[in-house]
């Protein structure tokens, strides 16, 4: 019997489909070939020195490769902290995802070493799969000097389901870093404390900036990401756009509706001053931004009214001795004139020491930057900035408000960060 062309085509198609379906279970069940040692080494190189976006993807492939990759990483991690650090943050973080006790021991060792440069990555590695036996370490990390480590410790608490630690977690609602506060608020809410959502709601009203950086806007986006997922699946469908300026009518209305929906009142619970969405008129002229992978982050601003402002968001105001601003601004002006067109010193790396300068009338701040990798670099800070750095530290009050963590022991902490970044200070 001769079938029409269309029928023959249909039969051929069905035959192909049958063959594919017959082979599918075998294909799915067949174990994939383990990657070769060359392939593992290639992924390690990608994870260590590839493009920033590639590094975590390559590390993930190593984790999927399992034992052979773990063995290779363990060999490369060597026996010293320096050898281990040379693997870079993405591989250090991946240690926590392997089922390998020796790699886990390396991860914990890195976390306990205050001089290890990739402790935030190690903390994220721990948070991926924390073990009950690591509970005490996780709780200790909630008090770590590095905000990124504290944030990861909150993620670890979530993974452990450590609801008994609710009180310790609640203390993080007064953390000096807003990203830590938001994580704490989100987790407390998930554990049943709805009032903590007030911290996220407050962030939706932020419009602060640090020189040209829209820090309030970034806070609004992150807070809304946390908040909207906690409203999904409920009847609280409220339109809010984080790009709306907080003073716009639609933004004000949306926040009011959110407060009503979350707290059954137009006013949300009281939150501490450092977490409030105030936008003081700082009129910053001179700034110092420090990002040390060992000593933490500091955001300091001076204006021409003998005031120092500490931190982001609702910054803490510290009055200075009369004449301090005039002296500092003159020193800054002289230092920056000496530097001329030069704007950075050192090499790209995780450690940054930025001097920001916006004299009256300047549309944008100028940024003079020192940067380096995890290793100390002698003489990194140019002579023109040495005297300025010394004067800035000298201007920091030694007695500060103990209720605001951003100002506690500020002079000592900033001095230590400066030394870790640009080297010893003059004088």
């Amino acid at each position: 019997m001769k079938l029409p062309l269309a029928a023959r085509a249909a039969l051929a198609w069905l035959a192909c489909l049958g063959a594919v379906l017959a082979l599918l279970p075998a294909a799915l069940a067949a174990p994939q070939d383990p990657p070769s040692s060359e392939q593992i080494d290639q992924w390690i190189e990608h994870a260590r020195g590839g493009k920033p976006a590639v590094r975590p993807q390559a590390a993930q492939r190593l984790v999927r490769a399992g034992a052979p990759a773990a063995a290779r990483l363990l060999a490369l991690a060597g026996s010293t902290s320096k050898e281990c650090a040379a693997l870079g943050p993405d591989l250090i973080e991946s240690f926590g995802a392997f089922e390998s006790e020796p790699l886990r021991a390396k991860l914990l060792e890195a976390l306990r070493d205050p001089d290890f440069p990739w402790r935030p990555a190690a903390a994220r590695g721990l948070a991926a799969k924390p073990k009950p036996a690591e509970r005490a370490l996780v709780l200790a990390l909630l008090e770590d000097p590095l905000a990124a480590v504290r944030a990861a410790a909150i993620d670890a608490l979530r993974a452990l389901g450590e609801k008994e630690a609710r009180d310790v977690l609640a203390s993080r609602l007064a953390d000096e870093d807003d990203r830590v506060r938001r994580r704490a608020a989100a987790l407390l809410s998930d554990w049943g404390d709805r009032t903590s959502l007030a911290w996220l709601l407050e962030d939706l009203a932020r419009s602060d900036s640090f020189f040209d950086r829209a820090t309030g806007q970034m806070a609004r986006y992150e807070a809304w990401t946390f908040l909207k997922t906690r409203l999904e699946g409920t009847s609280r469908s409220i339109a809010f756009q984080p790009q709306w300026a907080p003073s716009e009518v639609q933004a004000v209305d949306a926040r009011g509706a959110l407060a009503q929906a979350l707290f059954s009142t137009a006013k949300s619970p009281s939150i501490p001053p450092l977490a409030r969405a105030a936008q003081p008129a700082i009129d910053e002229v001179l700034g110092l931004e420090l990002r040390s992978c060992r000593k933490g982050e500091f955001f300091l601003r001076w204006n021409s009214r003998d005031e120092l402002w500490v931190g982001l968001g609702n910054a803490a105001r510290l009055p200075l001795a009369p004449g301090t601003s005039e002296k500092l601004l003159a020193a800054a002006d002289a230092a920056f004139r000496k530097l001329g067109a030069e704007r950075f010193f050192g090499e790209p790396g995780c450690d940054l020491e930025d001097y920001l300068w916006r004299p009256a009338g300047s549309p944008r701040a100028e940024v003079f930057r020192l940067s380096k990798g995890p290793q100390a670099v002698q003489g990194l800070r140019p002579a023109a900035l040495q005297e300025l750095a010394r004067l800035l530290v000298a201007s920091l009050p030694t007695e500060t408000d103990a209720s605001d963590p951003r100002t506690v022991e500020l002079a000592r902490r900033v001095r230590e960060a400066l030394i870790a970044l640009g080297g010893e200070l003059a004088g």
């Binding site: 976006a53 590639v54 973080e93 990124a148 950086r213 984080p242 982050e297 704007r343 944008r364 930057r369």
Partner: protein, 142 residues
């Protein structure tokens, strides 16, 4: 029919038609880098609709050159980021815009920059790794 510039009505009609037909110098859309960065990105999953709609658009965007690429040389390509440091978490592929300067170059800038150009949105892969989801061919840097 021969066109005569002496006929003002016909001239106006033809000029109007030419203006409609010719590609207009599109006004750039102001794009907030914080909005790009804030998406929840999962490899292989569709990007949010409002982000996809930016693909091919002429945009103005502000941000900072990634300090990890700091160099004393002039640059014709760099990553644009929101902040001087990704210090709180692991940098992800949605945390930057891969910028190529078209017909211009620049010194490496430590302060905020404003760029104008055409934005491309979507995953680009190299060796099986996603290397970018936002790319900007910038024709102006301020």
């Amino acid at each position: 029919m021969r066109f005569s510039a002496a006929n003002p009505a016909l001239s106006a009609l033809l000029v109007s038609a030419a203006l409609v037909a010719a590609p207009r110098d599109e006004d750039p859309v102001e794009v907030d880098i914080a909005k790009l960065v804030a998406i929840t990105y999962e490899q292989g999953k569709p990007l949010p609709k409002e982000i996809q709609e930016l693909d091919g658009k002429k945009v103005v965007i502000r941000g900072f050159m990634d300090p990890a690429q700091q160099t004393p040389d002039r640059v014709s390509a760099f990553r644009l980021v929101t902040d001087s440091c990704g210090c709180i978490g692991k940098p992800q592929v949605n945390h930057y815009v891969e910028v190529t300067l078209s017909g211009i170059d620049s010194e490496f800038r430590t302060n905020m920059v404003e760029l104008e150009g055409v934005l491309s949105v979507g995953e680009v892969e190299e060796d099986g790794f996603v290397t970018s989801i936002y790319r900007l061919e910038a024709t102006a840097i301020r």
